[in-house]
């Protein structure tokens, strides 16, 4: 069995790569930006990082998601190899019941949390040595059926607030709320079995708040820190588990 040693540094620093770079750091969570614009040289190099199983999956993707998957997975591999001082061929990935991936090295699950999201030309990887976390990113592309999407995934109060907005503000808030919800669901690791219309984003974050503590209505004992990490290029959110509930913060 290969012994996996965690980088002794307390920080989550890493060497930026050809297509990935630091994006933000918050409370022990490192967020990495992955550039996903077409780049044959980077894509070819990234493909070289994939193992046999990943290359099998690669063949099933359409061109754009294939590029997104390859560049994000290769960046994640490079970061994990550096952090755990292991070789790429010692690293593989498994998945939980609802598809949330985890890393395996030397036959053992690495005690380290990560989550990946991509949209259009941008990807984000969130990494933490502490609790569960989820990240989501969405480019703010105009939607043909925005009102139907809102009806499908937003809670009633959120729907009312969105309906009162002019179109451009509505689109902006839709993506903001959706990334918050998706980050929470990804952190929880339950996939579509958690109905996003069954809970609502914290009221402060439905306005201009950048962060808030959240608990799912059916899981009040677990508290999550929720952060809006979007910028002018995309909407994005991070959710990570707090050690103890801090409701009302």
């Amino acid at each position: 069995m290969v012994m996996i040693a965690q980088n002794s540094s307390e920080s989550l620093s890493f060497v930026p790569g050809p297509w990935w770079s630091p994006f933000a750091t918050t409370a022990g969570v490192q967020i990495v930006h992955v550039a996903l614009s077409p780049d044959p040289a980077c894509e070819s190099e990234a493909y070289g990082w994939l193992d046999k199983a990943e290359r099998g999956a690669w063949g099933k993707y359409l061109p754009r998601p294939r590029r997104q998957f390859t560049l994000c997975r290769a960046a994640l591999r490079a970061i994990l190899c550096e952090r755990f001082d292991c070789r790429n061929d010692q690293l593989s990935f498994g998945a939980g019941r609802h598809g949330k991936p985890f890393a395996i090295a030397g036959g053992a699950r690495i005690p380290f949390n990560f989550n990946v999201s991509h949209s259009g030309g941008h990807g984000l990887i969130a990494l933490s040595a502490a609790g569960r976390l989820g990240v989501d990113i969405e480019e703010r592309i105009p939607r043909r059926y925005l009102n139907e999407l809102i009806e499908a995934v937003m809670a009633p109060e959120e729907q009312t607030e969105l309906a009162a907005l002019p179109e451009s503000a509505k689109l902006h808030l839709f993506y903001r709320l959706w990334t918050l919800k998706e980050a929470l669901i990804k952190a929880l690791g339950t996939g579509f079995s958690t109905d996003p219309s069954g809970f609502q984003a914290p009221p402060a974050m439905r306005r201009d708040g950048r962060s808030s503590v959240f608990s799912f209505p059916n899981l009040p004992s677990v508290a999550w820190m929720l952060e809006d990490i979007g910028d002018e290029r995309f909407a994005a959110a991070l959710a990570y588990e707090l050690e103890s509930p801090k409701i009302g913060r």
């Binding site: 099933k60 999407l149 579509f192 996003p196």
Partner: protein
């Protein structure tokens, strides 16, 4: 009368798009929607359109089982 698969393909054609572009009729029913690049919000909205078309309801657990459109067709056919 149209088969379940034909009805689903028509709904896909009318409702699903990737980054502003229609998904297209050539979609392999056994291909993962995630692999095809369908965002999760769009998939959830699509299941509500399907539920309306077939006059039934999907639980969140049902939705979590649909890896691809083939799974959805099989589920609908099993409901008669």
């Amino acid at each position: 009368m149209a088969t379940t698969e034909e009805r689903i393909r028509k709904l896909v054609d009318e409702n699903l798009e990737i980054e502003g572009r229609p998904l297209g009729r050539g979609l392999d029913l056994n291909a993962s929607l995630r692999d095809a690049g369908v965002p999760s919000a769009d998939f959830l909205a699509f299941t509500k359109v399907v539920a309306e078309e077939f006059n039934l309801t999907f639980s969140p657990e049902d939705c979590s089982r649909f890896e691809n459109l083939g799974d959805l067709v099989t589920f609908l056919d099993s409901r008669g």
